[in-house]
Symmetry: C2
Subunit: 198 residues, 2 copies
């Protein structure tokens, strides 16, 4: 018998990583061969195959070999700015820019982002100017931080129901502000992540 050569395999992983970070493209078998100092693509083929079975690499047909964690998987999240009167929140005219984030970082669903304004959510750790990622949805659970349109501005508030009085409460996370009360309101989404700058 003979033990497996994990030495070469870690060299392969390392090379693939470095190659992708440098070129933003997946290397071919022959490039890997040259990179790790072997002169046969067949050997590389075996190693890569095994590394793929172990879940450490992805084989992309004729588009090269990639590390799992390097698969190009960027998605564009629209950043909603001022919401023009009466338009749906995701209408093109309301989108200021797109920020790229990694696919899967937010989970599943449709997402958008907005820049927090003011200090009304400061106790929830959301400060002025910070980027808040929101999952698009019409409903919310008690206590969720939701995005709602108030006076044509997308605002973040915590969501509660007053069941007895059939009112909807939007509560700022700042003791200096009062709750807001509505008979009815259209929820645009639920805030799921914040990117804070320190």
């Amino acid at each position: 018998m003979r033990a497996r050569n994990t030495d070469v395999e870690s060299k392969i992983l390392e090379f693939v990583n470095a190659y992708i970070e440098k070129n933003s493209i997946c290397p071919s078998y022959r490039e890997i061969s040259a990179g790790v100092g072997l002169s046969s693509t067949a050997s590389i083929h075996n190693h890569v195959k095994r590394l793929e079975q172990e879940g450490k690499l992805d084989i992309n047909g004729r588009r090269g070999v990639s590390t799992r964690r390097h698969r190009m998987s960027v998605q564009q999240v629209p950043v909603v700015g001022q919401v023009a009167c009466g338009t749906p929140i995701l209408a093109e005219e309301n989108i200021e820019e797109y920020v790229p984030i990694l696919k899967g970082e937010l989970g599943t669903g449709e997402f958008f982002a907005l820049r927090a304004r003011g200090d009304s959510m400061i106790k929830a750790g959301i400060e002025d100017g910070e980027l808040v990622f929101v999952r698009r949805q019409d409903t919310a659970e008690e206590g969720d931080i939701v995005v709602a349109l108030i006076d044509d501005a997308a605002t973040l508030k915590r969501f509660y129901k007053d069941k007895r009085r059939h009112k909807i409460i939007l509560r700022p996370e700042n003791d200096a502000y009062d709750d807001m009360e509505f008979d009815d309101i259209v929820i645009q989404g639920k805030a799921v992540k914040v990117l804070k700058n320190l």
Copy 2:
């Protein structure tokens, strides 16, 4: 004369985007052909060539065609867990995992990440379990949130100097905790971003 057909070209852009977001791989000319409803790769070739000259696409040799914004590559940030006694913070044995982030999202420098523990930084918006991104550096400015090794644990505190008494103050951002005082301390880095889950 005849006007240019920007119709097909925007369809191409759209298709390439969708394809990459779905497959995490760059489409080939033939796949684009089928995708936009043309049966000749030659036409696609012309359009893609022009779109590349306009800076809207990247041609990656035999690795397919990609949108500019999808070429943004991913870098791996090590997440530091328990710090083994006496080892440098970025020693392999202290690294729990790697999280992928977009290159350029944190600016320039060397970065690592750690999971915040406890509630000592809650007033700075850093809560238990959240991922904090740290720029590797040995020095800090007054008021920075720094990472320092205290009892072999990487802790986050705000950094101050007591110049008169020649002491270094590490201040928790929580009124329930007291300042910590040191004669000397080794700074590991400065916290720059937090990814908050809501």
